[in-house]
């Protein structure tokens, strides 16, 4: 009985630790990530006119432009967020965000961008 109590107590502690670690690394909402990290260049409205664009040699993508955005596959968008513009032969001004976002968060951002452009690849 005593051994059983110890096991139960250990399981409780393990569960608490697991819950804590999951909460600590919880994915942020895609819209929140966008407005924190992406909007500085792509704009709070996603129109490519962020507060930083004044002196940029290459203007950021307008994420509300369905024609432009439908020309990019989800895989390309995922890759450019994670590895930066250079990864798909685009501007170095688009930095790699792979150290900031989890893969799950990047997938969330791809979905969010599709909502902004109201488009999908090829359509």
């Amino acid at each position: 009985m005593k051994v059983l109590k110890v096991i139960v107590a250990e399981l409780c502690v393990a569960s608490l630790l697991l819950a804590w670690s999951m909460a600590a690394s919880a994915a942020e909402k895609a819209a929140d990530n966008y407005h924190t990290y992406c909007a500085q260049c792509h704009g709070v409205k996603g129109n490519g006119k962020g507060v930083n664009v004044r002196d940029m040699s290459v203007q950021p993508r307008n994420h509300t432009d369905s024609k432009e955005m439908s020309a990019r596959s989800d895989d390309d968008i995922y890759k450019v967020i994670k590895e930066g513009g250079v990864a798909i032969n685009k501007s170095v001004l688009m930095p790699p965000w792979g150290d900031v976002f989890s893969d799950e968060e990047i997938h969330g951002l791809v979905t969010y961008l599709r909502e902004l452009c109201q488009c999908s690849y090829g359509k």
């Binding site: 929140d32 909007a39 006119k49 930083n52 002196d55």
Partner: protein, 230 residues
């Protein structure tokens, strides 16, 4: 004449009374802690990042140069053109673009010289995350302005978010033309290598800058600061 001597002595004593780190720590707690994190940890969630009103200071003694800090506290000038968190300080211009809404930016209070000295002394004692800094990590080199700008802008794209001179560059990040006089080199070397080790949610990407380029970046910041001082 004697009265004047007494007056001067009294003023000097008053200054001396608030010049130590202990007094500075009291000022920090009383006047600065509501906007600055003096104990850590850095924001671990976006909500915590959004709530941050001023730079974290729990590693100020590793980050800032004391001489710069003491002067700046007496005459503070904005370092981040769009404030601490840019979405809080932008509005739409006539063409639907984002521009800084100056009316939302709050000026940093200025301190009298004795308080600035005391606060600086106290800040220099705050050395959280010291394990991330390697003393002597930066060794000075030589670099031309054009090479530095090429690296900073064309190769690494940092100009997107940082101004390299007043009125030129990005606005969401801190200006870098004062970084050479403002920031300790060994801290900069550590931060450039991995910004998120210091500030997990900061909206600066990790460009994986190697050791050689890190040195060049810091050399470049020195050049910019020297040019600005002329």
């Amino acid at each position: 004449m004697t009265h004047i001597k007494y007056l001067v002595a009294a003023v000097m004593l008053a200054g001396a009374n608030i010049a130590g780190a202990e007094d500075g720590a009291a000022i920090l707690q009383g006047q600065c802690a509501s906007c600055h994190n003096l104990t850590g940890p850095a924001p671990a969630t976006l909500q915590e990042l959004w709530n941050r009103k001023g730079p974290d200071l729990f590693y100020a003694g590793l980050k800032y140069k004391a001489a710069w800090m003491e002067v700046w506290l007496q005459k503070p000038e904005r370092i981040r053109p769009a404030g601490m968190f840019y979405p809080d300080h932008v509005k739409s211009d006539a063409e639907g673009g984002d521009e800084i809404d100056d009316s939302t930016l709050v000026a940093h209070p200025a301190l009298p010289a004795p308080e600035a000295k005391a606060v600086t002394a106290a800040l220099m004692e705050l050395k959280g995350k010291a394990e991330l800094v390697t003393a002597g990590a930066y060794t000075p080199g030589t670099l031309s302005r054009s090479s530095g700008e090429m690296l900073f802008d064309k190769f690494k794209g940092c100009l997107a978010c940082h101004e390299i001179e007043p009125g030129y560059g990005g606005l969401s990040g801190p200006e870098v033309y004062t970084a050479g006089q403002r920031l300790q080199e060994d801290w900069l070397a550590s931060y450039l290598r991995d910004p998120h080790a210091w500030d997990p949610k900061v909206f600066m990407p990790n460009k994986h800058i190697n050791e050689t380029d890190t040195r060049k970046f810091i050399d470049y910041f020195h050049l910019l600061s020297e040019e600005g001082a002329k």
